[in-house]
Symmetry: C2
Subunit: 343 residues, 2 copies
């Protein structure tokens, strides 16, 4: 079993921890925590090892959480690190990992220079195999790239224009807005998503812009894609429906026409933490005319990068399996595919 250490136990970290625990190829060494809050206690009661800075040891013990070791010991015991620490902190951690000689997987909140390669499974898995440092692109970029790379492989995408309608905050974030505004994400002309996607898919011209709205559930993206030759809608839906991580939803049949209803369906399906690992593409929104394909999709910001983090582990660990098998294993363990039956 490959020993995986998880630095960071927030929105992404706790989900990746659960995914690693489900996968018998990997052993979760433990997690790094800085404060003995409820999530430390829950992880501890679950049997997850907690590593802490030496000066915090007593704080944890006084809350009934006995640490397994220090951060130094965490680094020694891990063969691969997944860094899911807050944006920017991963870059600061890179020197630690280098000093300990450990490969690491970073998140999209870090600058691209943190790693050798920015990664998205459907786009560049083969290129990622055997790398020492990977960066899984952010939630919106992951959602965007899944669609673009799938369409690109089939139809040769020339350019894409994207509008991202971002959720204002995550569900637990009770100090972040906006609560009553539609806000430009940036005062620059474009958002980072397009540029970030082009790191992974450099031959397609991708331009994105973004607004932020008062919701916590999911992002929504509008994509307008130009392909090399004329296509028809049936070809597009057929291609998209081949991929387990893309879920076509017909609002007319299912009644699912909003992010809140999608999340309700994930709750009803008893997905842990109501996670939706799949891009949810509203089938009615797919418009095809000549070389142009547009669509609207919802992206669950909290969980969409979990499958790609697991795939990244396979790549860095050098697991000898072809892309299709890696994706199949990850998807099976996360239950991806199950929702297709009921939607």
């Amino acid at each position: 079993m490959i020993k995986v250490g998880l630095n960071g136990y927030g929105t992404i970290g706790k989900r990746v921890a659960d995914a690693v625990l489900k996968n018998s190829r990997f052993q979760l060494v433990g997690i790094v925590k800085y404060t003995p809050d409820y999530s430390s206690k829950m992880a501890f009661k679950k049997g997850i090892n907690i590593y802490v800075p030496p000066e915090k040891w007593r704080d944890f013990e006084s809350q009934g959480v006995t640490p397994k070791g220090t951060i130094q010991e965490f680094l020694e015991e891990s063969s691969i690190i997944i860094d899911a620490s807050p944006s920017g902190k991963g870059f600061a951690n890179l020197s630690l990992y280098k000093a300990a000689g450990k490969p690491a997987i970073f998140q999209g909140g870090e600058k691209p220079e943190v790693a050798e390669l920015s990664f998205s499974t459907y786009c560049n898995y083969d290129e990622a195999v055997g790398r020492k440092y990977l960066r899984v692109v952010s939630c919106n970029t992951t959602g965007l790239l899944r669609i673009l790379c799938v369409l690109h492989k089939e139809f040769n995408v020339k350019r894409a224009r994207v509008l991202v309608i971002r959720r204002g905050a995550d569900p637990k974030e009770d100090a972040r807005g906006p609560i009553n505004s539609i806000k430009l994400e940036s005062v620059e002309d474009v958002s980072h998503h397009g540029k970030d996607a082009m790191l992974v898919l450099p031959n397609v011209k991708i331009i994105s812009q973004a607004v932020v709205v008062p919701t916590t559930l999911m992002h929504v993206q509008y994509l307008d894609v130009e392909v090399a030759t004329p296509v028809i809608k049936e070809q597009v839906t057929e291609v998209l429906s081949r991929y387990a991580r893309i879920l076509l939803v017909d609002p007319k049949k299912t009644g699912l026409d909003s992010t809140s209803k999608l999340i309700e369906a994930a709750r009803d399906f008893l997905r842990s933490r109501n996670d939706i690992y799949e891009n949810v593409v509203f089938e009615n929104s797919i418009l095809v005319s000549g070389n142009s394909i547009s669509l609207i999709q919802a992206i669950h910001q909290e969980s969409i990068v979990v499958p790609e983090n697991m795939d990244a582990l396979y790549a860095v660990a050098g697991v000898k399996l072809p892309l299709e098998k890696v994706v199949e294993e990850t998807d099976k363990l996360l239950g991806i595919g199950g929702l297709k039956d009921v939607f």
Copy 2:
């Protein structure tokens, strides 16, 4: 096994269905559905029998959902009905149940006259045993009565003033507000919760008022209670901590100081649908001075009545168990108590 039929498969109904499926004393006959939406399909795939109006039979079949029978057959096959249909519809259904000679449990959205007794476990279980028609009081009233009856038993409550800060809509309800307002729930002087609570606890003067705020997660209640003799805070917390359905949370230790963080904790604890069956009382908010006790608590509107619905089944079915054992069984099957360890 006692055969339980569930009429209504919305917010409460689907949760009660899952609870009945976990309890080997009861057999879920099936559910009544009127439209073949995603929730019908999910229930069907789960193996739950679907009963439909005859004229809708084909609509269901065309969506791949084969009904088990008609509503008439549903009534015949059920020994007890739980009615969780939309507010007001339960009252209309009463005549159906009477004609079929079947006992029934209704929800708090119905007028009290729908049943022989308005019910709340900690208050009047013994009085409910053997009744043919019970009404489980609404979510806010259930949350309120749990605290009042527990305090009443111990300290003899004289009067209570309550302010309910209601969530505007349930998470899935994307057409209901307010989205940017704090609204009086009613143009009357008081809200219905106090009157409703007094149906169950008639010797205590309970006055409630309510405002509605833009959130979907939980209600919050402020209670100001006058008891017969002076008490101290330690007595109050000791009494509240005896009951599994009351969860004392210390925001300082746990970091849990908002409804969004509580729901996040329920997600992390992998509660199905992030349900919180317990009253969450913020420990720091308990103020005690002489005969006066005040506190702030959060109430998960979607799931708080599920345990009381299960207890009501025991009462109507005449299961020969004392109150404590009934509560113990219900709590165990729902996993109530587990969160105490990590909070």
